[in-house]
C-alpha cells in the first residue's frame, strides 16, 4: 500500500465526523475512532429503520388495535372514535356456524387447496425445466429467455389475457375444448361457477413456475461438475445422476424456494383480482380477496383487520414449524 501506515483511520479526508486535524487529536485516535465505528452502522441503518417503522411496524400495530374495534365506514375519518369491541371481531371470524365465520373458513380451505396445487405444479415445472436446461445444447439460451417471459410480464397484462382466453363465448379455451375437440357438450363457464378454481390454478402456475425455474437454475450452477464426472465413471446413467446428485444437492435451495412460493401463493391477491374482479366465485374465493371484500366492499375494517391478524398468525406458525423441521433436517445431514 502507500505511505499511510501509522493509523490510517485518523487521517480521513472525508471521514464522517472527523473535523479536527490538529496534532493533539493524533495522540488520542482510539477513543473517537471507536465511538464513530460504534455509531456508524446505526447511522447507515437510520433511513431503513425509520421507513420500516413507518410502513411496517406502525401500520401493523394500528392494524392490531383496529381489530379490537367496531370500525365501520362511519369511523373511517376518525378511526380513534370507533367503539371498542374487545374480542368480538375475532369471535365472529372463528364462529364457523355463523355466515361470516363459515365464509372465512371456506375461503381458508379453498386457499389451502389452491396453494397446494399451485405450488406443487410450479415447483414440478420449475425443476423439470431447470434440469433439462442444465446441459448446454442448441436453443438453450433462447428457451431460457422464453421461460422467463411470464415472470417479466406485468401481472395484470398477463392475467387479463388469460381472462380473455377463459371467456365463455369468445375465448380460446372453449373454442379448443368445444368447437375443435368436441370434449364438452356446450361451452363451459370458467370464470364463474365450479370450474373457476381450475382456471385460477392454471394461471397461477403459469405465472409462478418461472420463479422456481430461476431459483433452481441458480442452484444447479453451484453443483460441482466433478460429482457428475465421478458418477459417470462409476457407470451411473443420466437418470441416476439426476436422482442421486442433482436432487439432493438442490435441497437447501428447495427449502427456501418452497417456503417463498407457499407464502407468495397463499397471499396472492393480484391473480384472482384481475381474473375475477372484486368478488371471486365461491369456489375460488382466496383469503386475500375475501379480506379485501369484507374490508373495502362491505366496509367493515375491524372485522377485516381481525381476519388479517388471524391470517398472519397462521402464516407465522406454519413458517416456524417449517423452519424448525427443515433446519433440523439440515443439521442431521451435516452431522
Amino acid at each position: 500500500m502507500t505511505a499511510v501506515t501509522t493509523d490510517p483511520k485518523v487521517d480521513k479526508p472525508n471521514g464522517v465526523g472527523s473535523t479536527g486535524t490538529g496534532g493533539a487529536r493524533r495522540r488520542l485516535p482510539r477513543i473517537p475512532d471507536r465511538i464513530r465505528q460504534g455509531g456508524l452502522p446505526y447511522l447507515l441503518l437510520l433511513p431503513a429503520v425509520l421507513l420500516e417503522l413507518l410502513i411496517h411496524i406502525i401500520p401493523m400495530l394500528i392494524g392490531i388495535v383496529m381489530s379490537f374495534r367496531q370500525l365501520t365506514q362511519f369511523f373511517i375519518n376518525n378511526w380513534g372514535g370507533a367503539p371498542w369491541s374487545g374480542l368480538d371481531n375475532y369471535r365472529i371470524a372463528v364462529d364457523f356456524d355463523a355466515p361470516i365465520g363459515e365464509a372465512l373458513l371456506h375461503s381458508f380451505l379453498v386457499t389451502c387447496v389452491f396453494t397446494f396445487f399451485a405450488v406443487g405444479l410450479a415447483w414440478l415445472f420449475g425443476i423439470t425445466a431447470a434440469i433439462m436446461l442444465q446441459e448446454s445444447f442448441r436453443g438453450r439460451g433462447f428457451l431460457r429467455a422464453v421461460f422467463l417471459v411470464p415472470y417479466a410480464l406485468p401481472v395484470y397484462a398477463a392475467v387479463i389475457t388469460w381472462a380473455f382466453m377463459f371467456q365463455r363465448d369468445n375465448g380460446l379455451v372453449n373454442h379448443v375444448l368445444h368447437d375443435q375437440l368436441g370434449l364438452t357438450d356446450q361451452p363451459s363457464f370458467w370464470l364463474i361457477g365450479d370450474n373457476s378454481i381450475y382456471a385460477l390454478i392454471i394461471v397461477s402456475v403459469w405465472k409462478g413456475w418461472p420463479f422456481a425455474f430461476l431459483m433452481l437454475m441458480a442452484g444447479l450452477q453451484n453443483i460441482p461438475r466433478e460429482l457428475y464426472e465421478a458418477a459417470s465413471i462409476d457407470g451411473a446413467g443420466i437418470w441416476q445422476q439426476i436422482r442421486r446428485i442433482t436432487l439432493p444437492s438442490l435441497r437447501p435451495v428447495n427449502q427456501v424456494l418452497v417456503l417463498v412460493l407457499f407464502l407468495w401463493t397463499f397471499n396472492d391477491f393480484n391473480t384472482p383480482y384481475v381474473l375475477f374482479g372484486k368478488s371471486a366465485p365461491e369456489n375460488a374465493d382466496l383469503i386475500s380477496i375475501h379480506i379485501y371484500q369484507s374490508s373495502f366492499v362491505t366496509w367493515n375494517f375491524g372485522s377485516g383487520s381481525a381476519m388479517s391478524v388471524l391470517l398472519l398468525l397462521f402464516l407465522l406458525v406454519v413458517t416456524a414449524v417449517y423452519l424448525f423441521f427443515t433446519s433440523r433436517g439440515r443439521k442431521g445431514a451435516d452431522a
Binding site: 500500500m1 502507500t2 472525508n14 420500516e52 375519518n77 417479466a152 406485468p154 431459483m215 397471499n267 391477491f269
Partner: protein
C-alpha cells in the same frame, strides 16, 4: 457425457410442451390485438382473418393510457430508486459491521416479506385518510402516498438481496480502501457499490417489475389523476362491450418495456439470485 436417447426425447417433448404453455397467452395477446372488434367478440380464431393495426391507435383515446403510463413510470421508478438507495446503506452496515441489534433488524426485515399486502393496506389506508383530514396533506390518492406503500414490498426485498450480494464481495477490497485512507462511506461508493453493480441492477429490475405490476395498493390508493396502468387497463371494459382487441394491444404496449429490459438484464438477475437467495 453422452445422454441416452430416452433423455433427449423426453427433453424435446417436455421443453416443447412447456414453451407452448408459456407462449400461448403471448400469441393470443399479439394476434388478438391485430383483429377488428367484431372478430374478437365472436368465436376465437387461431389465424386472424382481417388484420388491422387500428387498436394500437384507439387504445390512447378509449382510456387516457398515456397518463396512466406516466403515473406508473413515476411511481415504479421512484419506489425503485428510493428502496434500492436506502437498501445499499443498510445492506452495507449489516454486511460489514457487527453491532447490537443487527439480528433483530435482519429478522424484522426478512419477516415483513412474508406478510400479506392486505395486512398493511387497511392501516395505511386509514393513516393516509386521517393524515389528510387533520393536516390537509393529501397522501391518499397521491403518487407520493402510493410510492410509500410500494416500499412495503420493495424495501425488504432489496435489503435482503443486497445483503447477500455484498456478503459475496470480498471484504479485503473495501478494507484495503480503508487502509488507504478512505472513509467508510467513500469505501462504500468507490469500492463496494462498483463491485456490486450486477447485484444492484438485478435488485432494481426486480423492484421495478414488481411495482410496475402491482394491483392491490394501486386499486385502493389511487384516484382519477394518479391511476396506474394496473387499474387503468380495466377502463377498456364498458357496460355494453369489452374492447378485447384494445385490451390486448394495451397489454402488449405496457409489457414490452419491462419484458425487454428484463430479458436484457436476466443474466444479472440469475447472478444476483445465486448470491443473494441461494446460500
Amino acid at each position: 457425457m453422452a445422454a441416452p436417447q430416452s433423455f433427449l426425447w423426453t427433453r424435446r417433448i417436455v421443453l416443447t410442451l412447456l414453451a407452448g404453455f408459456v407462449l400461448l397467452p403471448v400469441y393470443v395477446m399479439v394476434s388478438s390485438s391485430l383483429k377488428p372488434l367484431q372478430d374478437v367478440s365472436g368465436k376465437f380464431q387461431w389465424i386472424p382473418r382481417n388484420l388491422t393495426i387500428q387498436p394500437y391507435f384507439d387504445i390512447w383515446d378509449t382510456v387516457p393510457l398515456a397518463k396512466y403510463f406516466v403515473n406508473s413510470l413515476i411511481v415504479a421508478g421512484a419506489a425503485t430508486a428510493l428502496s434500492v438507495t436506502i437498501a445499499v446503506f443498510s445492506a452495507y452496515a449489516v454486511s460489514r459491521y457487527t453491532f447490537r441489534g443487527k439480528r433483530a433488524f435482519t429478522v424484522t426485515v426478512l419477516s415483513t416479506q412474508m406478510f400479506p399486502g392486505i395486512l398493511f393496506l387497511l392501516p395505511l389506508f386509514l393513516i393516509f385518510v386521517n393524515i389528510g383530514n387533520s393536516t390537509g396533506l393529501a397522501l391518499y390518492g397521491s403518487r407520493g402516498g402510493l410510492i410509500l406503500t410500494y416500499l412495503t414490498f420493495s424495501l425488504p426485498f432489496s435489503i435482503w438481496m443486497l445483503i447477500g450480494y455484498f456478503d459475496s464481495i470480498p471484504k479485503d477490497l473495501d478494507e484495503a480502501a480503508l487502509v488507504d485512507g478512505c472513509g467508510p462511506i467513500r469505501a462504500l461508493f468507490r469500492v463496494v457499490v462498483p463491485a456490486a453493480v450486477p447485484g444492484i441492477v438485478a435488485v432494481s429490475v426486480y423492484a421495478f417489475m414488481t411495482a410496475w405490476g402491482e394491483v392491490l395498493f394501486a386499486s385502493v390508493m389511487t384516484n382519477d389523476a394518479t391511476r396506474t396502468l394496473a387499474v387503468g387497463l380495466q377502463g377498456y371494459a364498458t357496460q355494453n362491450d369489452v374492447y378485447w382487441n384494445q385490451v390486448m394491444a394495451a397489454s402488449l404496449v405496457v409489457s414490452v418495456p419491462v419484458v425487454a429490459g428484463f430479458l436484457l438484464l436476466q443474466r444479472y438477475l440469475v447472478a444476483g439470485l445465486t448470491a443473494g437467495a441461494v446460500k
